[in-house]
């Protein structure tokens, strides 16, 4: 296992000195996870592996843009993998410029606004997800794993759109409350 701090150190080592050993460690930890994550949506192993490899190469290229005070390594790599999935799978006919999506757009004048989640470990967020009801969790998982909008999720679950919206709002409300409590 790789702790959140260790993973962040590895990304910073790539940024500072193009550290190939650091890259290899990150790759061994994250590439299989990204591949497994992408496959949950029904993507075949080969395409999922390509997303994982391309995502990790992007981690190398963009290592200097990683900011550990804003996001954990896993969160940052998630956003890269998400964009690669969009590029390579969903919009394969027309690759978009992933780089545009990669920049984290901070509201201006919000210098002090550092994410409370940066220091959060996987365990904490997992714990919070565990606190959600099964109904709420199903919707969240479908969005992330199966690459579906809330409208499509409502159709699939044969639920009124309003029901799906309120489940999402309750789930996000619970996450917000719990994380704000952590912060104070």
């Amino acid at each position: 296992m790789l702790s959140a701090d260790e993973a962040a150190d590895l990304i910073e080592a790539i940024a500072a000195r193009q550290d190939r050993a650091a890259f290899a460690s990150l790759f061994r930890h994250f590439a299989p996870r990204v591949k497994a994550f992408i496959m949950r949506g029904g993507t075949d192993a080969e395409a999922a592996q390509e997303v994982a490899q391309e995502a990790l190469i992007m981690v190398w290229r963009k290592a200097a843009s990683f900011d550990r005070s804003r996001a954990s390594a896993a969160t940052w790599i998630y956003t890269i993998a998400r964009n690669k999935r969009i590029d390579l799978l969903r919009r394969s006919a027309r690759p978009i410029d992933t780089e545009d999506w990669l920049v984290v757009y901070a509201p201006e004048g919000e210098e002090a606004d550092k994410s409370v989640l940066a220091g959060q470990t996987y365990t904490r967020v997992k714990e919070l997800l565990g606190g959600l009801s099964e109904d709420q969790l199903v919707v969240i998982r479908k969005a992330f794993f199966e690459d579906k909008t809330h409208t499509v999720i409502a159709e699939e679950l044969k639920l009124p759109l309003g029901t799906v919206k309120s489940r999402i709002r309750l789930a996000l409300g619970r996450l917000r409350e719990a994380l704000e409590k952590d912060e104070s």
Partner: protein, 217 residues
């Protein structure tokens, strides 16, 4: 906190990467201007991070790592990406909008009432425009057949549903008629993403679709 935030389900679609590019641009602008929305998206991204971290430790095989390592020689570690610089004449445009502003783009007067810049965002299902209204001026009363997403980028406007200022997000389902009017002060500039109506088929389609796609009927 914004008085008119984007709804949570849209932020979830955005963070999960499932939102088509045009509405995703509207959400990106809202997030760039509204700290509360950004925190919400940060939290959702952290959920994505936790889900990735929670995946099993399967191996990709050493060959995959070797191949990728061999490719790294041709890939530069780039300096930190700075947000896109403000474009002269478009100082009000937040960074996510800047790549969509092409050289030579300018305001076009529509019906003698307001100015428009049509943006070329990939995807056929949406029409994406920047609209500029002088204070006290409004858009003609109109009705939409699909969803309409609006983000206020400069000044403010008021319609039947409330007053909107910079960073505010509005989402309107089709049937509502509304008549936005720009508030006093500087001209109101907003990004509007309109879901296009269903394209007509059959012999009449060829005649009417150009009008439909321009939102005229």
């Amino acid at each position: 906190m914004s008085r008119h935030p984007a709804p949570d389900e849209l932020l979830l679609d955005y963070a999960a990467g499932t939102l088509p590019e045009a509405p995703a641009l509207a959400v990106a602008l809202h997030v760039a201007l509204d700290p509360t929305a950004r925190q919400a998206v940060d939290r959702l991204n952290a959920v994505g991070g936790a889900l990735i971290e929670g995946e099993a430790e399967a191996s990709l095989g050493d060959i995959a790592l070797e191949r990728v390592m061999a490719r790294l020689d041709g890939v530069t570690v780039e300096p930190r990406t700075a947000p896109a610089a403000r474009r002269p004449g478009f100082e009000w445009a937040p960074p996510p909008l800047v790549p969509h502003l092409r050289p030579g783009m300018g305001w076009r007067r529509i019906l003698g009432k307001f100015d428009e810049i049509r943006l070329d965002v990939p995807g056929d299902a949406y029409r994406v425009s920047l609209l500029r209204l002088e204070p006290g001026h409004g858009l003609p009363k109109h009705k939409h057949r699909g969803y309409e997403y609006t983000v206020c980028l400069q000044g403010g406007y008021t319609d039947e549903t409330g007053s909107y200022s910079v960073g505010d997000f509005a989402i309107g389902p089709g049937a509502e008629r509304h008549e936005p009017i720009a508030d006093p002060g500087e001209p109101c500039i907003a990004l509007i993403v309109v879901e296009k109506p269903i394209v007509l088929t059959g012999p009449w389609g060829r005649l009417f679709n150009p009008l439909v796609s321009r939102g005229w009927i």
